[in-house]
Amino acid sequence: MMSLKRTPLHGEHERLGARLVEFAGWEMPVQYEGIKAEHQAVRTRTGLFDVSHMGEVAFRGPDAGRALQRLLTRDVSRLEVGQAGYSAVCLESGGTVDDVIVYRREGDFLVVVNAANREKDLAHFRGNTSDLDVEISDETEDWALLALQGPEAESILKPLCGGDLSTLGRYRFSETAVDGRPAVIARTGYTGEDGFEIFLRPEDAAGIWRKLIEAGATPAGLGARDTLRLEAGMCLYGNELDEETTPLEAGISFAVHLDKPEEFIGQRALRQEKEKGLKKKLVGFELEGRGVARHGHPVRVVGEERGVVTSGTVSPTLGRPIGLAYVPPQTEGEIEVVIRGRPVPARIVPLPFYSRKQS
């Protein structure tokens, strides 16, 4: 068996008794105390995730911006230094190669990619920019990445970084220090809560991880990360997004700037799709009967199997079975999810399932 990569926090996970699983070639904590307890901690207090398996790819050189304009669906020229943006990466067909966050720094860009897509993304990035003067480097091993998420995230982090975090807006980041160590603090996350993603040097990660836990953060694993993002109606690559699905179908058109000045890969296909209409759309549903919908379960619309569940669980916050599914674009109201051969009534509901109260 191929040996699994370990993050700089592996020792911390073992010390905390985490259940470790293989994820995209990495040995990652799926849970510590339990998924529900960790989920609840993020919603009501604050959770701390090790997401160092995520890939970091730096774009440098005179054509770095041009390269990203070609590769990303978002108009990167609209990002200011210190601003981050969610984007899709598409094929010419409009199918989705990955969903990423691009950070515009002074002089270069950092793109955070999904762990499972890192190699594929690098080949796509390099293969489509060979005519440009850009250096694309995989810096995944150079960074540890923590996600501190929840209503108390700001008050937990503030004493460690000294600065005024209240002025750091959503999708803004600051190249600063945490506990005297160089760090990038970004007000981003994947849980539907306020919070930060903190980029650190690998050697500094364990110390800061411990201090954040001492300050009140609850360690949380990939299991809770998945239920949190699902309640918040956020896409997971491999579930809601893949190369056969466009970002418009996935409902992330806010990250697709079809009017941007330079053409991006997939733009023509997505424009056509917008004009002609979508073949499928992503919807949220709640089960009205008993059961749990899971990825791959068929969906019946007016009695016919015409859709598929992409993600599903029992929502720890709502206490009800919820899920996301692709269905024909005009579908509304009542559907059925076929759970292990048994049709269970369900109802399409607006997304997100959960949104935090804005203070």
Partner: protein, 125 residues
Amino acid sequence: MNVPQDLKYTRTHEWVRIEGDAATIGITDHAQDELGDVVFVDLPEVGTSLSPGDSFGSVESVKAVSDLYSPLGGEITEVNSILEESPEKINEDPYGEGWIIRLRYSGEADLLSPEDYQRLLEEER
């Protein structure tokens, strides 16, 4: 892991308490721990006839689903309907309030003693 000495076990991590011709069946402490937070139990109908090894339902946790296999043959006389509203009883008390079905059993089955089950857990580790 808690392996009570007064029960019998299966290789698929169910437990059985036999009292006369009645058998109570649930999943073991090890099984509930492996599954994590249980969020749903698919219970069978009372009156269903089972042969040893038949699947009679499933237990779902936040992340996974696990089929339940009957260690014995017989007819289901009772299901633990508390689990419909409170599936977490399986995590909290797998050998008590988290029991799943009761059978009037007829067929003999290949059950493990507590010692054999303990050995199986050690082998699987």
